[in-house]
């Protein structure tokens, strides 16, 4: 037990890294998902095909493989990127694909009648998206979006395998030194649990706020 207390500062440091990685990857994945979803919905044939290919590849290949690929390829790359940034980009690219599907399904779930009514008033697609469709799509997208964010948080644990000092990596290091797997990995799991649980709470609150009709 005192081991746990002694390890707290180290674990806290790791937790901060995990939080940072998660937040950055979520932002990147969300932005990417929005762009790709719009392309998939409104883009021309070639753009749509490209997005489809990208989604198919990302969904069929493990995140770990992508991280390894980045890690091993980094020394050969022309551009100098820090592994942390590389990790965020890869995780963002990976989950961006999932976000795309979430946003696309949400927009498609808005009844056609809404589009028709807005067109009848003489509006064009961009205006309709912003004023009519977006709010209604957000209501649908909320829960699966939060779920995907939780997946991102859990996905950041894989950076421990390529040597980035997130909370999983720190935990593994401590365990290898002290051989106290239950307490330490329990603590690591607890960190993730708190972050993910907080996210799902936030999600439920947002859902309530968006759906509340005065």
């Amino acid at each position: 037990m005192e081991l746990l207390v002694k390890s707290l500062p180290l674990l806290a440091h790791g937790a901060a890294t995990t939080l940072y990685l998660s937040a950055a990857a979520i932002v990147f994945a969300t932005a990417l998902g929005l762009v790709l979803a719009l392309l998939q919905l409104f883009g021309g044939l070639i753009l749509r095909a490209l997005v489809e290919v990208y989604l198919y590849v990302v969904r069929g290949v493990p995140l770990l493989v992508l991280l390894f690929a980045m890690y091993y390829a980094l020394p050969y790359a022309d551009i100098q990127i820090e592994p942390v940034t590389g990790g965020i980009v890869v995780i963002g690219l990976y989950f961006g694909a999932f976000m795309t599907e979430v946003f696309r399904a949400a927009v498609l779930s808005v009844p056609k009648g809404q589009w028709e009514a807005a067109r009848t008033l003489g509006l064009t697609t961009p205006r309709i998206l912003l004023d009519v469709v977006f709010v209604q799509a957000m209501r649908v997208a909320g829960p699966p979006y939060i779920n995907t964010c939780i997946m991102v948080v859990k996905g950041t644990s894989l950076v421990s395998i390529i040597g980035l000092a997130d909370v999983t990596f720190i935990g593994k290091q401590i365990v290898e030194r002290t051989l106290a797997p239950f307490e330490i990995f329990g603590a690591v799991a607890f960190v993730y649990f708190v972050i993910c649980f907080a996210l799902s709470r936030l999600g439920r609150h947002l859902e309530w706020r968006l759906n509340y009709v005065p």
Binding site: L64, V65, I150, P181, Y192, C196
Partner: protein, 217 residues
């Protein structure tokens, strides 16, 4: 940058040594998760408050923690406790525990998703609640859950890559082995990605066949 294609034919065999392990891990993981998920969902839907609470807590803990951490917990924990499990077994256990919970949620959603009006129609015809469930709700729910189950199966196949970190010689482990020795990293990981794409494509294809069979039935 030009890719030396001939190297691919030299990379693939080494990777393929890990292929059997990947499949040997993925198939039981999928089947056992699906089965364990049934047990869990029965717990979730149980009339007994205690059982339902235990099931709910289990699902929440497992869904909010990374499967990698669970693997480490089981692998290192088992060794420490005196009953060391192999990386393969620990990995399998972690995969089943994690995905069983997700499968349970999928089952729950599938049952919920069948309109209760259909169950009512069964009751109106004179069926007991149990028969109405078994003859009407369940078949429809089974059809409904095939797509999300198929998704989950793909995730399981991909998650088998994680056991490479606990020294199980599957596909990704083999790739890393090669990558540590040679410089042709693009070729190695490109081939590795291809392997997974083919695996997931075959699996998805089989699930779609199953879907079509069930629709027509």
């Amino acid at each position: 940058m030009s890719i030396d294609l001939s190297f691919l034919t030299r990379v693939a065999p080494t990777l393929a040594e890990g292929l059997s392990t990947t499949i040997l891990l993925a198939v039981p993981a999928i089947l056992l998760s699906a089965t364990w998920g049934i047990v869990v969902v029965m717990g979730l839907l149980s009339r007994f408050r205690l059982v339902a609470d235990i099931a709910r807590s289990y699902v929440e803990v497992v869904r909010n923690t990374p499967v990698l951490v669970q693997m480490f917990f089981i692998f290192f924990g088992s060794g420490f406790a005196g009953y060391p499990l192999s990386g393969f077994t620990a990995g399998l256990l972690a995969l089943v525990l994690q995905n069983g919970a997700y499968m349970a949620e999928i089952y729950r959603g599938g049952i919920r998703g069948v309109s209760h009006r259909l169950a009512e129609a069964g009751l109106a015809l004179g069926l007991t609640p149990r028969r109405s469930f078994g003859l009407i709700v369940l078949p429809i729910a089974i059809r409904n859950v095939i797509p999300p189950l198929s998704n989950q199966g793909v995730l399981i196949i991909k998650d088998t890559s994680l056991v490479a970190t606990i020294s199980v010689a599957e596909l990704t482990f083999q790739a890393r082995l090669l990558a540590d020795r040679t410089a042709a990293v693009f070729e190695i990981f490109f081939t590795l990605a291809l392997f997974y794409l083919v695996l997931t494509a075959i699996f998805s294809g089989c699930m779609r066949l199953l879907e079509r069979r069930l629709r027509l039935a």
